[in-house]
């Protein structure tokens, strides 16, 4: 008995749908989702994988079937049917992609908004305020009352480009603020309210974090794959990345923008800890660094960035050349004021 083509089409449609749904949910292509934002982006990716798998199977299926079913037979030199077009069909396959991309667009918009991408405070542009890394660290080296808490933003301060606060937390200060400086070929993390400077990024789990990212020499890009977040560090500009680390653990911090010969080696760790562990680490760093800087803290104004960072250089894997470039950043800050 010859099965009608409509039945075959229906069977194929159901099969493709089921396979696509399965692939979309079981591809295991993403690393662990360690931030509050990551599962949302994974859900978006899963949706796009489902749709893409379906479209892929349809296109490849048509090509493979055509090759076998419509192959020229021996001794058949005739042409195929002279079909020039089919307006309803063309309208249909114009409308379907249009609807699909509209759906993906709206979904992406929702995810992006929920991440804080549309935070109006993050859509203003600011050039790097003069941030004397060493000075800032020394000036704040006296322990504050609440070392984990972020300082309130100065009134009228323009916040930089990037991903800002989610709609839920807009207008509120983040729990922790960290200044991130990218330089060839290392990341330097400064906790401005406690004066701690580190080559590794320590963050508390479940608390909102704000990174203020800048660069001293060339463009870098801070990427934490497990958080699904990335933001360029651009000389002369500040950018912002606000998010909530969620899963305790250690993850890679990668530089994603080509920044010179050792670009591939420019990486460090982000360590997500419980709030208690984070506070303990912060306190230990405050103590250690204030002891280590006891002599220089007396007169920070006379201290160059190179001199300040020299004791830390070995630990961070920064060479002398890179430290010199901090000097350039210092002057850049002067000009932008």
């Amino acid at each position: 008995m010859k099965v009608p083509s409509a039945i075959w089409t229906m069977i194929a449609g159901i099969t493709i749908t089921l396979v696509s749904l399965w692939v979309g949910q079981n591809h295991s292509l993403m690393p662990v989702a360690a931030s509050e934002e990551a599962p949302r982006i994974d859900a978006l990716f899963n949706t796009m994988m489902t749709i893409s798998t379906g479209l892929f199977l349809i296109v490849q299926g048509i090509i493979v079937i055509s090759i076998f079913k419509f192959r020229k037979r021996a001794n058949d030199n005739t042409d195929g049917p002279p079909i020039h077009g089919n307006v309803p069909l063309e309208i249909l396959w114009t409308a379907i992609p249009a609807v699909i991309i509209m759906g993906i667009g709206v979904y992406s918009f929702e995810i992006y908004n929920s991440m804080g991408g549309l935070d109006p405070m993050a859509s203003h542009e600011s050039h790097v305020a003069h941030k004397h890394q060493a000075g800032a660290a020394i000036a704040a080296s006296l322990p504050s009352d609440e070392p984990g808490m972020a300082p309130s933003k100065a009134p009228g301060k323009l916040v930089a480009l990037g991903v800002g606060a989610s709609p839920r937390t807009q207008g509120q200060d983040p729990f922790v603020s960290v200044n991130v400086l990218g330089l060839q070929f290392a990341w330097i993390f400064t906790y401005p309210n406690s004066g701690v400077t580190s080559g590794e990024l320590h963050l508390p789990a479940g608390k909102e974090v704000e990174l203020t990212i800048s660069a001293s020499d060339v463009i870098h890009s801070l990427w934490i794959p497990e958080f699904r977040l990335k933001q360029d560090a651009i000389p002369g500009r500040e950018s912002e990345l606000r998010f909530v680390p969620q899963v305790v653990g250690e993850y890679s911090v990668v530089c994603a923008e080509l920044c010179g010969s050792y670009h591939g080696g420019m990486k460090t760790r982000v360590i997500v800890q419980t709030e208690e562990d984070f506070q303990a680490w912060l306190q230990s760093q405050i103590v250690a660094q204030s002891e280590g800087l006891e002599t220089v803290a007396l007169n920070p104004a006379d201290l160059s960035e190179t001199d300040y960072l020299q004791p830390l250089a070995a630990e961070m894997g920064i060479d002398g050349e890179s430290l010199k470039q901090l000097h350039a950043e210092h002057h850049l800050g002067d000009r932008s004021i």
Binding site: I41, T78, G105, Y112
Partner: protein
């Protein structure tokens, strides 16, 4: 379709003459010839040589990445290798091969013209290519530019200054060549069509070249502007893009991508056109949705101009602007989807001749769709933030530019080789070439999606050892891809010298270039060319009697055989 000019017997006889082919002396190819056919082949051979050089650089890059450590070449040289690889492939292979080679060779033939509108300008455009390319490669002797083909400042102005300046100069020369070509194509297509050929009677390759040429003329000068300013920053100490002097590196990114995103369409649009001409011939069916395909090229051309900032979602782009560019980018999926579905409908129900040209044509559709689907994904801002500047992007762009453009160029070579040389290519070597290319390509680039999603950034000489196995697979794939070019080279050289002689129309195709001798004589047609059918009227007319069915009566095709006009 437009009306057909009734053929006059004398003209018809002249038009269909196939015996007066013009074999070109080899010295002609090394001369300042103004014949568009010679220039087309000059472009094709010259750019193919650069393609081999670019491929060798890519193989060196993949050899470095076979192991996690930076142990094959120095880090500086590694950066130079991938920078020059990308520059060669884009500016010296895909763009000049798609537009310069096939555009030059085919456009006048397809529209029944005797040459391009400005033959000398045409020759100048080609003769800018070899010095531009040699200049670029010479930069290895002084320390090649290592800031990537994007050449973002401040990195590009603080690295190898001599190499970077050579890079800028060579890209300016190649861009100038591109602009001269674009002017020529636009004028030729708009002004030199044979009598009776309206825009809607043109082969779809002409439409695609019209769209690509418009893009070249609008966007390439902006790149030139960006590079000239960059050169000032580099050698004169100005600060257009240098934040130390009040400049802004993000402005460079806007200017660069204003050209370099449309460049993707400059690369792929001619290929779209070639595929639209190749599939109907070998599927023996009219192209499905001629006008939809033609106008979608123009839509892609326009939309391609307003999506550049999707390369900058993680840099200095405000949130609302990211949304605009996301939507604009996604909309391009619609005209592209129209093309893909039309190609599938063309193939469906045909009488497919699965020769080398068709294999690469179908391979193009198949691979390009993968690149297109990942393209929609990375148009989505939240997802792009994760994968931007990672191997996911490397995979995506190679699926579009190798799986798309290069597969299409291969299809074009197999399809038009008989017309260009008067000889047929060897089918066994062609199929071997396809199999090796298909396997090598997918082995090399498919796993890169995974690498990028998992956390491997692009442009790194050293990487996390957990990615070692997958990278090794990619490297093996790249070697297969390198080997895959040998059957093509052997085939082309051997067939050109001693391949079976081709008739004027070995594929029984209906576009005008096949209605003259192979290779065509000087000035293309003996007598005035006359259109007998539309470019895609397969399945109409009476092949046995050799009488084509006039288009005015084409609505009711009477026979399954197509016309034989050669």
């Amino acid at each position: 379709m437009a009306q057909v000019t009734e053929p006059e017997t004398d003209n018809l006889g002249e038009t269909l003459a196939v015996e007066a082919g013009g074999h070109t002396p080899w010295r002609e190819y090394f001369s300042f010839s103004t014949d568009h056919k010679v220039i087309g082949i000059q472009y094709l051979v010259c750019t193919f040589i650069f393609y081999l050089i670019g491929g060798a650089l890519a193989t060196a890059v993949r050899t470095e990445l076979a192991t996690p450590d930076s142990d094959f070449v120095s880090r500086e040289l590694y950066n130079g290798l991938f920078t020059i690889h990308a520059t060669v492939m884009i500016f010296l292979w895909i763009v000049p091969a798609g537009t310069g080679a096939f555009g030059n060779y085919l456009i006048p033939l397809m529209i029944g013209a005797r040459d391009m509108a400005f033959p000398r300008l045409n020759a100048i455009a080609f003769w800018l290519i070899p010095p531009g390319g040699i200049l670029l490669l010479s930069s290895f002797f002084v320390g090649a530019a290592g800031a990537g083909w994007t050449s973002y400042p401040p990195l590009s102005t603080t690295g190898e200054k001599a190499g970077e300046f050579i890079w800028i100069l060579s890209v300016l020369i190649l861009g100038t060549s591109s602009i001269l070509g674009g002017i020529n194509f636009l004028t030729t297509i708009l002004k030199m069509r044979m009598p009776g050929m309206g825009l809607n009677d043109m082969p779809l390759f002409c439409w695609a070249m019209l769209a690509a040429s418009a893009l070249i003329l609008i966007s390439t000068p902006v790149l030139a502007g960006a590079l000239i300013l960059l050169a000032f920053d580099l050698i004169a100490g100005t600060a257009f893009f240098n934040p130390m002097g009040g400049g802004d590196p993000v402005v460079y990114q806007h200017m660069f991508w204003f050209y370099s995103h449309p460049a993707v369409y400059i690369m792929i649009l001619p290929i779209f056109g070639m595929i639209s001409d190749i599939l109907p011939v070998h599927a023996r069916k009219p192209i499905f949705g001629y006008q939809a395909i033609a106008y979608s090229s123009m839509a892609i051309s326009f939309l391609g101009l307003i999506v550049w900032a999707h390369h900058m979602f993680t840099s200095g782009t405000p949130g609302w602007l990211r949304m605009f560019f996301m939507v604009a980018t996604m909309i391009i999926a619609v005209p592209t989807g129209i093309k893909v579905f039309s190609w599938l409908a063309t193939v469906w129900g045909g009488k497919i001749r699965l020769n080398s040209a068709m294999l690469f044509g179908l391979g193009f559709v198949s691979m390009f769709v993968i690149g297109g689907l990942s393209g929609i994904m990375i148009a989505s801002v939240p997802f792009d933030i994760h994968v931007h500047d990672t191997y996911f992007i490397v995979a995506h762009l190679h699926y579009v530019l190798f799986g798309g453009s290069v597969f299409g160029l291969y299809a074009g070579i197999y399809h038009w080789f008989p017309k260009m040389t008067g000889r047929m290519m060897n089918e066994f070597l062609g199929k071997l070439h396809f199999v090796l290319t298909f396997i090598g390509f997918n082995l090399c680039f498919l796993p890169m999606h995974y690498l990028g999603l998992q956390g491997m950034p692009r442009r790194v000489a050293e990487y996390d050892p957990k990615f070692a196995t997958v990278n090794l697979i990619c490297t093996v794939g790249s070697y297969i891809l390198a080997v895959s070019t040998f059957p093509l080279i052997i085939n082309a050289v051997w067939s050109w010298i001693g391949g079976a002689k081709a008739s004027g129309n070995p594929w029984d195709a209906l576009t005008m270039e096949w209605q003259t001798a192979s290779p065509p004589p000087v000035e293309n047609f003996i007598g005035e060319p006359v259109r007998l059918t539309g470019p895609y009227d397969y399945g109409m007319g009476d092949r046995n009697s050799g009488i084509p069915m006039p288009e005015s009566q084409a609505n009711t095709p009477m026979l399954s055989g197509g016309p034989t006009v050669s």
